[in-house]
Amino acid sequence: MYDFDYQRPTDAKAATAAFQGDARYLAGGQSLVQAMRLRLSSNARLVDLGAIPALRGIHAGGGSVTVGAMTPHAAVAASPEVRQAIPALAQLAGWIGDPSVRNMGTLGGSIANADPAADYPAALLALGATVQTDRRTIPAEQFFTGLYGTALLPGELVTAVSFPVPQAAGYEKYRNPASRFALVGVFVAKTAAGVRVAVTGAKSHVFRSAELEAALAASFTPEAAKAVRLPVAGMNADLHASPEYRAAMVSVMASRAVAASLAR
């Protein structure tokens, strides 16, 4: 990899102050360190967030669960608070990568990277979560803007994500057999404001499916989801799946997510 200057602050304020020039925050490193190894990513300065305990932790209360940005996926998956309040979120976290990756990879790192096949974006968008940064809050609808694109400004530091507790929720992931990323991942949430369905892995970034939301609003059943024929336009085409197959699998995963939410 290319050389860089390295900072390891112990609090968030020092972290944002250290973000100078061509810099990047280093969270768990499960995406960034790999990209750097392959010489696909390079910045003049890395600001390592790993020594900031205040950025880790899970708090439940007041109708939502708040997860610190540097909380590893394994902690979210194992958290009694998350399992009790939003079990689908714990399940999603437990399906990211593999066990070793889950011990290092973080919520903040995942959403800031906004890989089109990452799992967390589907949860944020379906649950109507709010991203907290060092300077403002950003609703999920505004956070994910495009392929690897987010609304974060340069140097803006994600500090936590607040997930409103839904009435019911389910997540189903169709794993890419090679990479184990989401070939398609569907998060279904029944909230006070209605049904929300967020899809990851299928297009250039996470999106809400109007067709599935309408069908499930009329009948919150697996059959209703399965019957939806999503438009193929915009669906990813790659070695592993054609747009037609992806579109079909969105409906299948949605129906299974609905079944999971009903089974709880």
């Binding site: 057999p177 090679a178 070695l239 054609s242 197959y245 299948v252």
Partner: protein
């Protein structure tokens, strides 16, 4: 305290735990990348980003000035030094009698680059990071050329991979009796025909290729550490054919090797360049492939397209088989490449059956892709796929049970001379088929299928009755078929004065457990404890000669060489014992580790004879040299013919197309078995690779640009623990008739037999005639929704 009243239990047939494991489990293995030599420098290769391009110029000036750089070499430097090209070890002739095309295979590309990853410069620097940084400064001016990518359309394509091979055909070979086959097809009332590909695979041993080359001025010699399956072959090819050095000046050490599966047999450009450069740089040079580099440059496997036909009568007797195959050689001929789709393929098209007439025609083509060569099974998986897919499909065409059609056509009398050149020495195909049917609970399949159906799933059952030729090989037969080398094996048995034994074997262990199984063989034959036998392999400085490990040959050929050396030790021991016991040589028997005078209880243990050989005070010095150290070379008289019956049962989720292997049953006849635990492990690993081929894996290149699309584990689907079931494995035994151990070899069987079993099961589940490998969920889903 050993109970001397009981005869010792022979270690043959015992599942002894492996001696190798102590170091592997505690992190004390020594793999090539673990070696760091004093004064170590590091090598990085500059590689082509294009599939096909003319090299207009290479400017190394900025790179040479980069920090820490010791030297940079290009193809021009090697040409100036008269370094030769990499040789191909097997000469195939086309139907018109002309020899195969052998375009130059340069160590560093000259004039053109011919696949993405083709190396054209070696950068040597003090540290790896410095070498990498400098490699990026090497400026190459390429003129991009159209790439020839697809095996099916390479022959006759406008663009030539090699300028002196217009049309890209390496050879056009045939085997068998075309006239007899044509006549049989003309008469036949039933013909089953299939067209399919055998998908291209990337071996992906978990240890990437690595080398570390050191030149020593003191005696003008070289030492090469390399992750390789056959150090003596590596040395011979490199010194005699490429670098023009005497073999004795190069020591090749293949230490612990993290898997090979064929991909580490071949002489590669990297270690060759390192050895050559190490003298010029005057420092040892170390290179380890990054995984993405391995993807581009390790020899790939398989990559055939085939049209195959089976002619039958109405009762299902096989009358003839006709096969036409186009096989990919890749951009350059790798060491064994030409033999894989010919000698190792067409000669197995009889399978387990009495088909009287068989003909195969194979066209081998060059493409702008990585070289293609042997990968676990090497030609025999391709042949078995042809035969077992035809046979199962023929059964369906005729409305016959796939078991009955096989039984009807089994070879039952041995030795059996097939119409494709091989003579099977022995076998009992019905025995393993019967056992497989029982172990797989085929009788219960119908009920399981109904249960799956009630749950909305599809279930299918498929068979594969494979045979292979291994124990490579009788040298005279191999030579007649085009081999440029001998395929014997060598072993030296050194008895120490204190009665322990060190065996130097030309075989190489890279997972097969030879340190344990060979010790079992020697200990059994000498009647000494297994702990007293040490097996040494992998170092040309310690082992006099060998041809290495591949083709399931180590126990049958390497083991037999060792047995012959042991028998020479025993023969000499008899003479020593006769002298000590004051008897005639012919009155001495050797049993359970003791030399006895026949018909008496006068005896001497092996250990005492060993000590006497080295302290020859009471010794027939007038007739016999002191010492007890023998070697043997063994050239087998035939191939060996492991065979088996596999049954695969799958369950398909029609909503997604995802297929689960519900159970996989393998019953193999490997002849006698020395260590059943190790044999089963080989079968497990082979099945995983075969199911990987059938369900998950496939190397893909962009058809226009020739870029490798599956260039990492992100896109090339390796089988993981949750992709596979546990296996049900058993064996039957018909001992090999032509080696003293009666063994046939077992390393490749799992990968050979399993792909057609899976596809037969899947097509049964889906009710379709054929489906391509890998049968990805989308392919299955489309078949379900057709």
């Amino acid at each position: 305290m050993t109970d001397l009243s009981q005869p010792p239990v022979s270690p043959i047939g015992q599942p002894l735990r492996r001696r190798e494991d102590a170091r592997f489990l505690t992190g004390a293995g020594q793999y090539t990348d673990d070696v760091v030599l004093p004064g170590q420098s590091y090598g990085v290769f500059v590689r082509s980003p294009y599939a096909h391009a003319r090299i207009q110029s290479i400017d190394t000036s900025s790179a040479k000035a980069a920090p820490g750089v010791l030297a940079i070499f290009t193809g021009a430097d090697l040409a100036d030094a008269k370094v030769g090209g990499l040789p191909c070890g097997w000469l195939i002739h086309s139907q018109d009698g002309s020899p195969m095309k052998e375009p130059p295979h340069p160590v560093l590309a000259q004039g053109k680059v011919r696949h993405v990853g083709d190396q054209l410069a070696l950068v040597v620097a003090e540290t790896l990071l410095q070498a990498k940084d400098a490699a990026e400064l090497v400026a190459v001016d390429y003129e991009e050329l159209p790439a020839v990518v697809d095996v099916a359309t390479a022959a006759g394509a406008a663009s030539a991979v090699h300028d002196d091979v217009p049309g890209n055909v390496c050879y056009d070979w045939s085997h068998g009796d075309k006239a007899a086959v044509d006549a049989a097809f003309a008469r036949a009332t039933r013909v089953t025909k299939l067209e399919f590909a055998n998908n291209r695979l990337i071996p992906n041993a978990i240890e990437p290729r690595a080398a570390n080359a050191q030149y020593t001025r003191h005696d003008d010699s070289y030492t090469l550490w390399v992750s390789n399956q056959n150090p003596h072959v590596e040395r011979l090819l490199m010194t005699a054919f490429v670098l023009g050095l005497p073999e004795s000046r190069v020591r090749v050490i293949a230490p612990d090797v993290g898997g090979g599966f064929g991909s580490k047999i071949f002489l590669y450009p990297e270690e060759t360049a390192l050895v050559w450069a190490s003298k010029r740089v005057g420092r040892p040079i170390k290179w380890t492939a990054e995984r993405s580099e391995s993807f581009l440059t390790d020899a790939h496997g398989r990559d055939h397209v085939t049209t195959a036909e089976l002619a039958m009568n109405e009762q299902g007797d096989f009358l003839a088989m006709r096969v036409k195959t186009t096989a990919n050689m890749g951009a350059y001929l790798s060491t064994f490449a030409s033999s894989v789709p010919t000698i190792l393929y067409a000669t197995l098209l009889a399978g387990q059956y009495r088909t009287p007439a068989i003909h195969a025609q194979v066209t081998a083509v060059f493409t702008n892709t990585a070289p293609v060569d042997a990968y676990r099974g090497a030609g025999r998986p391709e042949a078995t796929y042809v035969v077992e897919r035809l046979v199962e499909t023929a059964a369906r065409d005729l409305g016959m049970s796939p078991v009955d059609i096989r039984r009807r056509n089994f070879i039952t009398e041995f030795p059996y001379a097939t119409p494709v050149g091989l003579t099977y020495d022995t076998g009992n195909y019905a025995a393993h088929l019967d056992r497989a049917l029982e172990l797989a609970d085929v009788a219960g399949f119908a009920a399981r299928r109904d249960k799956s159906k009630a749950a909305g799933k599809l279930r299918g059952l498929g068979y594969s009755c494979y045979i292979e030729a291994c124990g490579l090989a009788p040298s005279n037969i191999a030579g007649a078929l085009g081999a440029r080398a001998g395929l014997f094996e060598a072993g030296e048995v050194r008895v120490h004065p204190t009665g322990t034994v060190t065996v130097f074997t030309g075989s190489h262990s890279h997972g097969q457990g030879h340190e344990t199984t060979f010790a079992q063989v020697v200990a059994a034959r000498l009647g000494i404890p297994v702990e007293n036998v040490e097996i040494v392999h992998g170092d040309t400085g310690r082992v006099p000669f060998g041809m290495g490990t591949y083709g399931s040959r180590s126990l049958s050929v390497g083991g037999t060489a060792i047995v012959k050396a042991v028998d020479k030790v025993i023969a000499k021991g008899r003479k020593i014992a006769a002298h000590l016991l004051e008897a005639a040589d012919s009155d001495i028997e050797f049993e359970n580790g003791e030399f006895k005078v026949a018909g008496t209880d006068r005896k001497i243990p092996f250990g005492q004879v060993a000590l006497t050989a080295y302290v020859p005070h009471n010794y027939p010095l007038d007739k016999l040299e002191p010492g007890l150290n023998e070697n043997a070379f063994y050239d087998p008289t035939n191939f060996t013919y492991p065979a088996g019956s596999y049954v695969c049962e799958v369950e398909v989720d029609p909503e997604t197309g995802r297929t689960r292997v519900d159970r996989f049953t393998a019953v193999d006849d490997f002849g006698n078995i020395v260590n059943p635990m190790i044999v089963q492990g080989q079968v497990h690993g082979g099945i995983a690779q075969g199911l990987g081929q059938a369900m998950l894996e496939g190397a893909r290149y962009d058809p226009e640009s020739g870029q490798l699309l599956t260039g990492s584990y992100m896109d090339y689907c390796m089988p993981r623990a949750d992709d596979l079931p546990s296996y049900q494995v058993d064996h039957t035994v018909t001992p090999c008739t032509h080696n003293p151990l009666g063994v046939k070899g077992c390393g490749e069987a799992g990968a050979i037999g399993s792909p057609p079993a899976f596809i037969n099961a899947l097509t049964d589940a889906l009710g379709v005639r054929d489906i391509a490998m890998p049968a990805t969920p989308e392919r299955v889903w489309r078949a379900v929704n057709r």
